[in-house]
Amino acid sequence: MNVAVTTQPKRKPSFSDWLKTLTFYELLVGMKATLTHLLNYKPITLQYPHEKRLLPDNYRGMLALLRYDDGTEKCVGCDLCEAACPSRVIRVVSGEVPGEPTKRYSKEYYMDMTRCLFCGLCVDACPVDALGMTREFEWAVYDKRQLHLNKQQLLAIGDRSFPVREKRLELQHPNVAFFNVTFKHLPQKEN
């Protein structure tokens, strides 16, 4: 396919063009711009370690596991976060609560934060809002194995970043942590 190349017809340089070339007019315009910035000096940089910028409300920082207000883990070990993660950061080993076949939890929960791209898809995927994104971003470490976090570490991050915990809904059956619906047909657990 022929692409029509449109070229500007060569204009004969006028006297003012000629004068502008001769006097470096365009250079002077540029130099005026830089001088204006020097004279109205308003720096936009922040001196980072000494002053920090205000983070936006929806800032996506370090990931964390959350708890209910009674201290129990929210995570039910459903593996949906692992499935949603595009970078294979998360590894969940799910397990049954002993003696309660309907209730599951995550026996092990690992996050390899060296690979995380902070997209927040795991947080979106979680059916019980067990994952949260904190505002922590200063996670530079000397050994990158320190960024391979286990469940205890992730819960600790959640504890220090989310002091206000969600209430476990009363109408929810303690057997099933899944979805905030009642299961009246199931027998009440005595404890």
């Binding site: 250079l27 540029g30 711009a33 830089t34 910035h37 020097l38 000096y41 936009i44 940089t45």
Partner: protein
Amino acid sequence: MEIGLRLAVSLAQIAAVMGVVMLTVMVLTLAERKVLAWMQDRMGPMEVGPYGVLQPIADGLKLFFKEDIIPAGANKFLFTLAPILALVPALIGFAVIPFGPSLTIELFGMQIKPFVISDINIGILYILAFASIGAYGIILGGWASNSKYSLLGGLRSAAQVISYELNVGLAIVGVILLSGSLSLVKITEAQAGGFWNWFVIGWGGFPQIFAFVVYVISAVAETNRVPFDLPEAESELVAGFFTEYSGMRFAFFFIAEYANMILVSCVAAALFLGGWNAPYPGTILGYIGLDSLAWIENVVWFAAKVYFFLFLFFWLRATLPRLRYDQLMRFGWKVMLPIALGNIVLTAIAAYFFPR
């Protein structure tokens, strides 16, 4: 005894000038980063000392304690020689710059000129000659490093410095025609008595404004500064001819660049802007009866002119992008050179009909 004393006085003068130049280099390294930052809405160095004013000392210490690396396959002798060859010509040119009024004082029965180390009668030729030797430092440094980036930087620098040195030399000829001397002291004295006598205005002769523009542009090119920084184009050649240098050898190249900037600024001030002459006849301190302190005013005027040129260097660096290689060569040979030559012809005619 006489010779010993003379030597001691000369050494003292040299030490004083070197001290001032080195101090200015230190100030410039900080000033350049600060001015550049302010022009780009940044802050520049802020960590070392209040507002980062101690940054040059920190940089110097860092360079001093850095490991000195000579790359494998490099020519060790030339690799060591090149930074010295770059630095010495840059510093040696200050010997003929008049920093203040050309008065002589009597000391131990000797005539001493306190503001110029040696008033030789071919001062400007001497500076041009040593500026050419400075190009060797760059070329040899590029060649001896055994690195393609260094070699490319060195080659570019060779072509560029030679092309633009020509323009510097030709731009100066007009001033020499008007003043009738190659001595910087005599050239400066010829511009006394107000700014209209400065050769850039050249009242009563031919104004050297074109020569001045050619000189300033060529001086920027000769010191390898933006927008003519092709020898060290960091976006193309890593760092150009000093890619492989580290530690004090790198510092030598760095100091040489800044000393060269100061030198061409001094020459520009002395040749075109009247050197240490104030823009009005005489000095204010002289008028109010403080004749013995008038030199302070003159030295301040000289420093002000030099710092104006140094600021111009930073200003250009903050504004202009780098030229392409063919643009550089075309500009040098097809624009600057004809202007300089035409200036010589017109100045010669004017000097013949209106002798000063």
